[in-house]
């Protein structure tokens, strides 16, 4: 059979074609590969807890004993029942020949699920799975925004929680890349928010990994917006809690790089709203109004001067390590003062 179409994957996994005996699940998203392999295994053997109904192999173990896979596939369980044999490919082990042998002489009550990383179209394993009538291949790519939305909905519904659009945007920026990991983070979020009816942005910030990036944005936005007091206070709080100053400075430099590009686009006639909406990496929803306002106030020459000052601060903070905290703090204050002066004018 050929590769299962993305739209058909869920249906295929839940009610597999009984004729298909070998399924290759592969792709860059390892979490999704494992999840789908498990779903398929559960579909063929049922939800039984019988440890004998599921067998796991690492491909390297099979390489040492090439007959093992066929033996297991054809073994008749003492107490009957179906078996799923899960094989995880790691390293450069070739198992096409073993699979071919099984496909030539299909077992009665066994299914074989092969999980692999990203495979090229030309890989023999993929060719075999896509061409043989008793085999199928399922590609797993990292979740796109729509998949993530569905994942968020699924998990929140399961926990009986609602989630607002802001919190959802915040979440989407923080998860993804690996299905299992994303699901784990969502379940953790649901646990944290348990008892409240709706998940808020604050909840997301509190528990999802790497959320401290948002605090850094806060400092940068306050400085760029001309609010020296807020910038200095948040900066001090972050630094006293251990965020290295250069992390914040780096964020500021990146932000001004973005402002520079965006402002240049504005002067070519684009609107600030559309630039911010289209930005990559995306500007987090909560920040958008602030960033649009910044674009209004900061003209190109000012942005360039600020960039030069921030760059110099980066060098200074590295060279004069003992006072790097002050160096970065001073640079942020200067940015804030520039913005405030501009606004006052």
């Amino acid at each position: 059979m050929v590769q299962v179409k993305p739209a058909d994957i869920d249906r295929f996994l839940r009610s597999p074609d009984p004729g298909i005996r070998v399924v290759l699940v592969f792709g860059a998203d390892d979490g999704l590969v494992s999840e789908r392999s498990e779903v398929f295994a559960r579909a063929v053997v049922g939800n039984s807890d019988d440890p004998l109904s599921r067998l796991r192999f690492d491909a390297s173990a099979l390489a040492e004993d090439p007959a093992r896979l066929a033996d297991e596939a054809h073994a008749v369980p003492l107490f009957g029942g179906r078996r799923a044999i899960l094989v995880r490919i790691s390293g450069n082990v070739r198992i096409e020949a073993m699979l071919q042998a099984i496909l030539d002489d299909p077992p009665v009550d066994s299914w074989i699920v092969v999980s692999a990383g990203d495979l090229k179209k030309t890989s023999p394993l993929r060719k075999l799975a896509e061409s043989h009538r008793l085999a199928a291949a399922i590609a797993c790519y990292a979740d796109a925004a729509r998949d993530l939305d569905r994942l968020i909905d699924d998990e929140m519904k399961a926990a009986g929680l609602k989630i607002g659009s802001e919190a959802r945007t915040a979440l989407r920026a923080l998860i993804g890349g690996d299905r299992l990991a994303s699901r784990g983070e969502l379940q953790k979020l649901a646990l944290y928010a348990e008892g409240s009816r709706e998940v808020s942005t604050d909840d997301v910030r509190a528990v999802i990994g790497d959320a401290s990036a948002m605090d850094v944005d806060e400092v940068v936005d306050a400085a760029t917006g001309g609010d020296a007091t807020a910038a200095a206070r948040t900066y001090r709080r972050l630094v006293s809690a251990g965020t290295p100053p250069f992390v914040i400075l780096g964020a500021a430099i990146r932000h001004f790089g973005f402002l520079h590009r965006a402002r240049a686009a504005m002067e070519r006639g684009d609107s600030a709203d559309s630039i911010v909406a289209r930005a990559t990496p995306p500007v987090f929803f909560q920040r958008r109004t602030a960033v649009i306002r910044q674009l209004d106030g900061w003209r190109l020459p000012m942005i360039e001067r600020a960039m030069a000052g921030l760059d110099r601060a980066m060098v200074d903070s590295r060279l004069r390590n003992a006072i790097d905290e002050e160096v970065v703090g001073q640079a942020l204050l200067m940015v804030a003062a520039m913005a405030a002066a501009r606004r006052a004018a």
Binding site: G31, D58, E194, A232, Q330
Partner: protein, 628 residues
Amino acid sequence: MDGSLEKTTGAYRVLARKYRPQSFADLIGQEPMVRTLTNAFRTGRIAQAYMLTGVRGVGKTTTARILARALNYSIPGKVDQPTIDMTELGEHCQAIMEGRHIDVIEMDAASHTGIDDIREIIEASRYKPATARYKVYIIDEVHMLSKAAFNGLLKTLEEPPEHVKFIFATTEIRKVPITVLSRCQRFDLRRIESGRLVDLMCGIAAKESIEIEDAALLMVARAAEGSARDSLSILDQAIAHSSGKVEAEAVRSMLGLADRALVIDLFEEVMRGDVAGALARLKALFDVGADPAVVLEDLAAFTHVVTTLKLAPGATDDALTEEERRRGAEFAGKLSVRVLARAWQMLLKGIEETREAPRPLAAADMVLVRIAHAADLPTPDEALRALKEGGTISAGGSRAPAGGPSGAARAVADTPAPALSGGDGRARLAAVGGGMRAAAPQPRPVPAPAAPAVQLKTYEDLVALAGKERELKLKHALEHLIRPIRFEDGKIEVAFTPEAPPGLAGELSGKLEAWTGRRWMVAVAREAAQPTIAETKKAARQQLLADAADDPLVAAVMARFPGASVVDVRLRGAEPEVSTEPTAASGNAAASDDVESAGDFPDDPGYDAPPPIELDDNFEPDDGYDPT
């Protein structure tokens, strides 16, 4: 702190151990994790594996043990399920917290990296726990495991036995394969904010009946950098250092922080222009063993404090002493942002020079002299205004209102210039343009000072003198091969470009002696970032051309006349104009100029890479011509 684990023994136990958290209630600063775990335990959705990440000292291992204790919490006849709420000591608690429970296996992956170590765990995990509810494996520094070991672990994680729980701890989450990470519930332990640490230490000090000053607590909290354990260790030291009450001064000296009061005095003298006082104080500090570069760093830090007090008065550091706060606010009231920013830049440059100088004290002296002079100067705005009005410029740059045109005059005032006090406006401009080093290029030749003896104030003077003496080869060398670093009468410090011929230094000092009748010291630094005069001129010219080309009006002209090019930009006097720019634009420029002068990044105070040219404000389309 339930304190129930404490056994009263005579021996002193360090605070960090004595007050090590025993339950989730003791754990400060990790509320999100505790809340998540509470809900998970209450609803019976306990994860199979946990991944605790965070920097050193935030309490990963402690949390792991508390978690193990919670998982295995039981009081026969009363509690028979995992719980977060551990008010009294359970059956296994003591052993778990001391790391000696048979079913809680702690392993340090840093020293057990191989597959064999993991295989042992996998084998053992088949068997049920001996006495507790779960077999808990705590693997510290899990990112150190080898690839094979991770793969082995993965198999167990994919289908873990019911009775096994894993708790991993790591400082480097990115080194943990996603395949493992995605099968764990992950918690990012946060650093603890200093306010929380202060509360913690306050409580402990009260329990230990130790008197401690608030300022001392703040200093300890800051030094701990977000780690509860570190804060208690430092507190321990501070208690040992002091007899009776723990005072801020004692903690300050223990932590190696300089005496702030002296630094403030020094700052005041420098800003007042009291060079003699400042130098004497620096010498005194040096004599008691202070590193001049560190003194300058402290001075820079205090400048930052004053700037913060000026721009963001509500956001200063809690750890400031009363004196720093009071006097800092005084300075903030008196000094303009520009003066502060200039002092800051000069200090930063000075720190580096001082550190590299063979005689740091002398170098630091020079830095203070420069700043004292600069502080005494009017700000560019004042200078320009005074020039326009033909009045005199009063010394002391502190009264500068934010704003006012800066433009061309900035180069003048930014440069420490001993000659500023006399002569008419034109002469001032010319004399100070060069400063101690190569600074902004002069639009017109520098008139030689009409002094009785040959007096050289700037490097440019020297170049001009070489021209006058018809020493063209030397003049060329001065312009192209020498990077001026420092220039004083009788002493110059330079670096040579790689093309410079050997013996140039000797030739230079010989000629100088011949011309001036005095001995000159020519110090040669190995390398320097300063550009040669020729480079400066070239850069300035390119900058001018680029600025001119960027001007929307010029651009419009160019578009209208295809094939046209900007070949030269000429500046006339203090009121700059670009020859290609219609005069209408410069009128606008003056109006919008003041917008940026208040809080702008200060340009280099004239002794590093010189600012391309101080006219850029007037050239920028933004200022001179508003497209909107």
